[in-house]
Symmetry: C2
Subunit: 325 residues, 2 copies
């Protein structure tokens, strides 16, 4: 199975690494908008300028798009689905239906397959919301994120005057997790579910009181949360906050029985040392699946909901039934 990567940030490097761990796959190239010679991939795989993709039309089974959801993927995925089987991690939940429609048109009309929004949320968390809701139709699901670094919130802090660098951790509230896991079906506000911890490096002489206030009052990002702000030095940031951990849990509780007397709790939990490397690993598994599906004649845009688990594995259906069922 010949895989190529478009985009070589954290996600692209994660895909490069994950493909090495998949004996049925070969990474044939990295495509980039940057100058190819500026990139020295760890795997030694060739790097090409993105406009060279036209020469690879029949040489790539699946092209994994490692761009951002804000501006890259909305253009990139439909455009490239005309010539390749493509896979992305588009994660703007509200914009998924529109993105799906555009990608579906491009992929279906050209006989390709595309899969959008793979990763862990959207992705594995979505799959778990679906399974649990199908099993417990009267259930309620709760999604918690963290403890982990939110890139978007860290960026928002960096834009404040006087801030040199910052990391923001999203942290689930332990009491909320406990209440949900008890099956008591609590009503939880945004503030009840998560707190936000901010570690901020300020310019020398900056007004720390103003910076803290601007963070805590920032609408959408922080105003609806209990937020803590800790000022640290650049040395402390580099020593303690360079990782990109994340994770979270999807917890569904529901009842069965004639009087709804029996409570069930289904929980899917992730604890990830590296958010981008885990996302990349999910992308690579779904790349395998859409390659198999395309070889069976499936075309058009798909999501993680449309993929049978069997297609994600390098093992045969017989091996899976014998050893994993």
């Amino acid at each position: 199975m010949k895989i190529a990567v478009y985009g070589y940030g954290n996600l692209g490097r994660g895909v490069e690494c994950a493909v090495q761990k998949s004996p049925d796959m070969e990474l044939i190239g990295i495509f980039t908008r940057r100058a190819p010679e500026s990139i020295k991939p760890r795997s030694g795989v060739p790097v090409y300028k993105n406009d060279e993709l036209v020469n690879f039309k029949d040489k790539i089974d699946v092209l994994i798009l490692c761009g951002g959801s804000a501006t890259d993927l909305p253009e990139m995925t439909p455009a490239l689905a005309k010539d390749f089987n493509v896979l992305d991690s588009f994660d703007t939940h509200a914009a998924i239906p529109g993105h799906f429609a555009r990608v579906d048109e491009a992929a279906a009309s050209s006989g390709h397959i595309a899969l959008i929004s793979a990763g862990w949320d959207p992705g594995m968390f979505s799959i778990n919301r679906l399974y649990a809701s199908a099993i417990l139709p009267n259930g309620k699901d709760y999604t918690f994120w963290g403890r982990g670094v939110s890139q978007g919130h860290s960026d928002a802090i960096r834009r404040i005057k006087g801030v040199v660098d910052a990391r923001q951790y999203t942290v689930p509230v332990p009491e909320a997790l406990d209440a949900v896991r008890s099956g008591s079906n609590p009503a939880l506000t945004t503030r009840d579910k998560h707190t936000r911890e901010c570690y901020v490096v300020a310019e020398e002489g900056a007004d720390l009181v103003r910076i803290e206030r601007e963070i805590k009052e920032m609408p959408n990002y922080f105003a609806d949360y209990n937020t803590s702000v800790t000022f640290i030095t650049m040395e402390e940031l580099k020593r303690d906050h360079m990782g990109i951990p994340h994770g979270g849990a999807v917890i569904t509780t529901g009842r069965t029985g004639w009087e709804n007397e029996n409570t069930h709790v289904i929980e899917y939990k992730l604890k990830l040392d590296s958010n981008p490397e885990f996302t990349s690993s999910v992308l690579v598994a779904f790349a395998r699946a859409i390659d198999k599906m395309h070889k069976r004649g499936v075309t058009g845009c798909k999501t993680v909901f449309d993929v049978a688990p069997v297609d994600l594995s390098p093992l045969s259906p017989e091996e899976l039934r014998a050893h994993m069922l």
Copy 2:
């Protein structure tokens, strides 16, 4: 979607109840080997003698088989797959490939669809082993069961001379769970992973020392475990041990990164007040899926691995993408 149930024990009653919670389904009948008039279903659905099934060949979309794995299902599923779309919860892991082959032949040759081994293990736990192993190909998975009642182990105790009744709880060892969740990839023996708690009602005057020894030394069932035996009265058993709770966790840990420097922990956990009612709820969701698949022309034997999540839900693909992805 017209559903029928074959067998009316705990599992059949659970299916009856789960179908009521599914607005797209109708339970059209319960079929039994017993005298139909001896059964008074809570839902008021008609009860038929099993040999009347021949009159329902085109009136049932999916027939859910609620028999036992030891002797019922090995005969029942292949035989009925000749005339119906069928679904079972066959749970003898080692015998799955043979069962699959027999059911596949019957279903494929008659143009029906069958799905075997639905439930939670095999079933949802299997699905989670597969997803996690596909995402983390160098990962290791651990399955823990409990705290919950094991019917097989309770039955084994009841066969000992002098025992009136008994309940056996399978309990995961907390230290083993902690070690696995830490990502340290521990090597765990059978004894390290689970303990077995036995609550036993003995005949008056029975030799309690002998009973305890016979339990603890019983090969396969107890000899490989740390087992505790507590003698209780019939009143205590009826007061404290009439539930059928169960659950457990599938935990997969694996590493990513060029030096395998990043550890990831994926955990799927169930806490179930009623083991049979949860299993029934899984069966009903997969009944929906195989009905959809059969209407698209799919035939032959399938397992939970072959079902795309989208087919389990009563919601449309558009609704799922908009609200659950």
